[in-house]
């Protein structure tokens, strides 16, 4: 089945979105993803290994991420690690989610729930 077919039915949880964000710039292994998620949320979201790999399994099966064949140079590599990267589908998904959030934030501002941004 083509992964796109499932995209609409895929509900992105906040934790899944964080994983997609963590992979936004480059491919990463499991531990790096955990650390990134923790850093990018200021320590607010701490994923356990169980949660992380359940998310990875789901994103892999939906075609949002894939395992990379390119590995780091041998001296930096650990054979037990696996590296994951965003697919175009995953990127599209992350962008759509980010835009949705942006729209939400904009609405909140219009309703004066948030202070308006001062642009130069």
């Amino acid at each position: 089945m083509h992964p796109d077919k499932n995209l609409e039915s895929l509900t992105l949880t906040p934790a899944m979105f964080q994983v997609l964000l963590a992979l936004g710039e480059e491919e990463k292994h499991g531990y790096a993803i955990l650390k990134d998620v923790e850093d990018q949320t200021g320590g607010e979201v701490r994923l356990s290994t169980g949660t992380l790999y359940a998310i990875i399994k789901r994103l892999l099966s939906e075609g949002a991420i894939k395992e990379c064949r390119n590995r780091p140079p041998a001296d930096e590599d650990d054979q037990r690690r696996r590296y994951y990267r965003l697919t175009p589908v995953g990127r599209e998904l992350a962008v759509a989610e980010a835009e949705r959030m942006e729209r939400l934030v904009a609405t909140a501002r219009e309703k004066h729930l948030l202070r308006r941004l001062h642009t130069a």
Binding site: L34, L47, D78
Partner: protein, 879 residues
């Protein structure tokens, strides 16, 4: 808490990961362990950090693992449904076969649970007992209680916290233009209290209601109140005319099962005219007694307590309890006594249902194994594509479970649809039948059976695939070790099916032979086109015997003049009379000039009053002497006609004609004027007793009307009813039935049981035959090449067919041997259900074994024919 050391931490984490499904672990376990190790290395810098890591890890696993299992289950279910849809024949046969097994077993479990396992719906039912007086005077050893005896047991026993009495009467309820017969329970105050039953409306019967001269009162049963009084909430205080008195309703009972009989109304003992008339007579036994044991009393205590009182009665009243009658008293648990007649039948049915379920399971297991052979390549390919063995086994188990659950749903539905039939059958055996219903327990049992059977047949197939998977890319499964093992298991299952169906068939065969013997019994009368009906007079209008005599003559005259009536008679009872089920007219008698010798058992006979045409109407043969005639009236000397058994027993080869007997201690001597043939009064299974017939004119007792007609008797039943009403509108008519119907009803239970077991056995045989045939068909398929080679090498068709038939019949023979042994061990429990047939009846065993062999041969024939049609060239090419 100290965080675990590194290696221990690894082991704990690995153990926690086992909560994830096998496949998940296979994909991610190594990686997760590595990540966790890294997390731990970073967290070890601070103890709190480490504890927090453990907490988050453990809660994370507990949160995500169930989701993973669920998601796999969803996938497996979807996959299983798709696979089953591809092979709907297999799915349909498996579901139907199992559903049949589940339907039969859950229906019978419902009945057994309601009747034998659940406590009675009364408070502390283990304390409720039925009292018995035992004497050799009664044919079944049991006599009812008289009023003075009840008083004695109440005042002299120590073991009971409460003792109550009960008897059932038929009374007539009069309205303006109708008379209805109601079943009335006559009970002592405290009867319902002892069972823990409180009226839903009004009040219970009290001591004041039971005083002589107290206003007549009634308690209505819930069912009667709902059906005949439209559930009127203002019923309390309403009056009913019953016999000669006006009765006021004081209460309505709750909808509890009524024991020992189902009655329409209840009244206090003082209101029953028959009991009142016999209040001081120790020898009029008409009541039953129930008691509640005091706390801590054992059955042994109670028996010895009752025995002591009975011995005292024998000592104090030698005339009422002659020593030769061996009088004593005992008791039994109410719970057991209510189900005595049902117990063996229900256990036999349960065993039969279990057999059927096992056969169904074995059949589905066999089907599944056959299907596994066909799917071997598919499974191998999937393994090669990376599916784990655990994953495949899990998928196979899901398929089995889906079949099991579908079968359970269908089975429970079938069971619920047929339960009322089974309940109607059980009603003939125990009053507890009305408690039979489908409930959550039965649903759980059905579900458990479904899951259990799925695991059984699923695991049989799984076990045999475990080693196959990955090893069977090449065709010709029987050549592999697992293929051979699978074939052995299939053979074993076929042997079991044949054995179990043989057991069922032998059980059914025994019951059928027993039923045929029952039907062959000459009842001693000719039941065709004889109508019987019960008449209940308003006794208060006929206080004198002469009045009853005259009324009888008028009724008889009018009936005899009706078109279609060949002959008619009036009597106090008749053969298979439901109101005479206990043989209530049993009395002891003496023969003139032949006093009872010491040690001789008492002389007892059933007595009955009848008009002269009684024997002609019923077709009872006169063998000696003469019948009653008009001259045997109330002014003539008392006469009696006896039956052949009685004549043979007491006069041997001599003629009893002219001898005199007395039933009232020599106050009245009756001359024997005739001897008539024996009649099976209480059903064909019970021997004819000793019968004494008195002329109606000398003992007027207008209870039953018997009419022989020249047409279908039910056609003139309405007209006869009207004729009787024309003579006296206040006569209630009941039990209108042909004697042929009564005769069929008398063997209804054995007939239904034989039919039920017959149906089970037929189903079992069909399933087993399909099992044998199916297995051989598969064997032919697998031996295609070998058979082809044999044909090429010159094997004759007979040899080829013999090869296949031999393979099948070897298994059948093993099944037969096993089945005969099992049946020999099991049919013993049916002994009490059989009539003139021994549990090891050789003709039945032989006949059934032959029948099974014949069916099995037929089942072997089709695969053998297919083997004959094998084209050797094609077979060789196929390899």
């Amino acid at each position: 808490m100290e965080p675990p050391t590194a290696s221990r931490a690894d082991r704990i984490y690995q153990a926690l990961l086992r909560l994830f499904p096998f496949d998940f672990r296979q994909d991610y376990q190594a990686e997760m362990e590595e990540v966790f190790r890294e997390q731990r290395t970073h967290a070890e810098k601070n103890k709190m950090g480490l504890l927090r890591l453990w907490w988050e890890t453990i809660t994370g696993i507990f949160r995500t693992a169930p989701h993973e299992h669920l998601s796999i289950l969803r996938q497996d279910t979807r996959f299983a449904l798709r696979t089953l849809a591809k092979n709907p024949g297999y799915a349909l046969v498996a579901v139907l076969t199992l559903a049949l097994g589940i339907a039969v077993s859950s229906a019978i479990v419902s009945v057994v649970a309601a009747v034998l396992l659940r406590p009675l719906p009364y408070q502390n039912d283990s304390q409720l007992v039925v009292l018995h007086q035992v004497t050799s005077k009664a044919s079944d050893g049991d006599v009812a209680f008289s009023v003075p005896e009840i008083k004695d047991y109440r005042s002299q026993t120590q073991s009971f916290s409460s003792l109550v009495e009960y008897h059932s009467m038929r009374f007539t309820l009069y309205s303006k233009d109708d008379a209805t017969r109601v079943r009335a329970g006559v009970v002592s105050p405290g009867f319902f209290g002892m069972f823990g039953v409180k009226p839903v409306l009004g009040r219970d019967l009290t001591d004041a209601d039971d005083q002589t001269g107290a206003p007549a009162v009634l308690l209505l049963s819930y069912e009667y109140w709902k059906q005949h009084c439209a559930g009127d909430p203002n019923i309390i205080g309403r009056t009913f005319q019953m016999n000669d008195r006006v009765h006021t309703v004081v209460g309505v009972l709750p909808p509890v099962p009524q024991y020992p009989d189902e009655n329409d109304v209840y009244m206090p003992t003082s209101a029953c005219p028959f009991r009142s008339a016999a209040r001081a007579n120790r020898d009029v036994h008409m009541m039953q007694m129930f008691g509640r044991l005091k706390f801590g009393q054992t059955p042994d205590n109670v028996r010895s307590d009752l025995g002591v009182v009975a011995a005292r009665l024998v000592h104090d009243h030698p005339k009422s309890y002659p020593p030769e009658f061996g009088f004593t008293a005992t008791s039994g648990l109410l719970r057991d006594e209510l189900t005595n007649h049902a117990r063996v039948t229900l256990w036999v049915l349960l065993a039969a249902a279990a057999c059927l379920l096992l056969i169904a399971c074995a059949n589905v297991a066999n089907l599944t194994l056959a299907r596994m052979s066909a799917r071997e390549r598919e499974l191998t390919v999937r393994t090669a594509l990376g599916a784990g063995k655990g994953r495949l086994l899990r998928q196979l188990a899901t398929e089995s479970l889906i079949i099991g659950l579908a079968a359970a749903a269908l089975g429970v539905w079938l069971a619920s649809q047929s339960l009322h039939l089974l309940a109607a059958f059980t009603a003939g055996l125990t009053p507890r039948a009305r408690e039979i219903h489908m409930d959550s327990t039965v649903l759980l049992v059905a579900l458990a059976i479904a899951i259990g059977t799925s695991i059984f047949f699923g695991s049989v197939s799984a076990l045999h695939s475990r080693e196959d998977i990955g090893g069977g890319m090449k065709d010709g499964a029987p050549h592999t070790t697992a293929g051979r093992r699978r074939s052995r298991t299939r053979s074993l299952l076929v042997v079991c099916q044949v054995a179990l169906s043989l057991v069922l068939l032998i059980g059914a065969g025994l019951l059928l032979r027993s039923l045929l013997k029952l039907q062959e019994v000459d009842p001693g009368f000719v039941p065709d086109r004889v109508l019987a009906m019960r008449m209940d007079l308003n006794w208060s209008k006929y206080p004198r015997r002469q009045q009853i005599r005259e009324l009888g003559s008028r009724v008889l005259e009018r009936i005899q003049s009706q078109p279609g009536v060949l002959s008619a008679a009036i009597s106090s009872s008749y053969p298979l009379d439901p109101d005479n089920a206990l043989g209530e007219g049993k009395n002891d008698f003496q023969i003139e000039g032949r006093p009872l010798r010491s040690g001789e058992s008492p002389r007892i006979a059933n007595s009955r009053a009848a008009t002269p045409d009684y024997f002609k109407t019923l077709g009872i043969r006169l063998t000696q002497g003469r019948n009653f005639d008009a001259s045997d009236n109330d002014k003539a000397p008392p006469v009696v006609v006896i039956n052949q058994s009685m004549a043979r027993r007491y006069w041997g080869n001599q003629s009893p004609i002219g001898c005199r007997i007395t039933f009232d201690n020599a106050q009245t001597w009756h001359k024997i004027i005739g001897v008539v043939g024996d009649v099976h009064e209480f059903g064909p299974q019970l021997p004819a007793g000793y019968e004494a017939y008195f002329p109606y004119a000398q003992y007027p007792s207008l209870s039953a009307v018997l009419v022989r007609t020249d047409r279908d008797p039910m056609l003139i039943a309405i007209q006869l009813r009207q004729t009787i009403r024309d003579v006296d509108a206040q006569t209630a008519i009941a039990n209108v039935k042909t004697l042929e119907q009564a005769r069929q009803d008398a063997i209804a239970s054995p007939r239904v049981l034989a039919n039920l077991l017959g149906i089970f056995a037929a189903l079992a045989l069909t399933i087993a035959a399909a099992g044998v045939g199916g297995m051989l068909a598969l064997a032919v398929n697998q031996r295609w090449h070998e058979i082809g080679v044999r044909i090429t090498l010159g094997a004759k068709p007979r040899d080829v067919a013999g090869l296949i038939v031999r393979q099948g019949m070897t298994l059948v023979a093993a099944g037969l041997a096993l089945g005969v042994l099992a049946a020999a061990a099991l049919t013993r429990m049916m002994r009490s259900l059989l009539f003139e047939v021994r549990p090891l009846d050789a003709p039945t065993f032989a006949g059934v074994s032959l029948a099974v062999t014949a069916v099995a041969l037929l089942a072997c024939y089709l695969p053998a024919r297919r083997a004959l049609g094998i084209d050797p060239l094609l077979a060789l090419r196929r390899e």
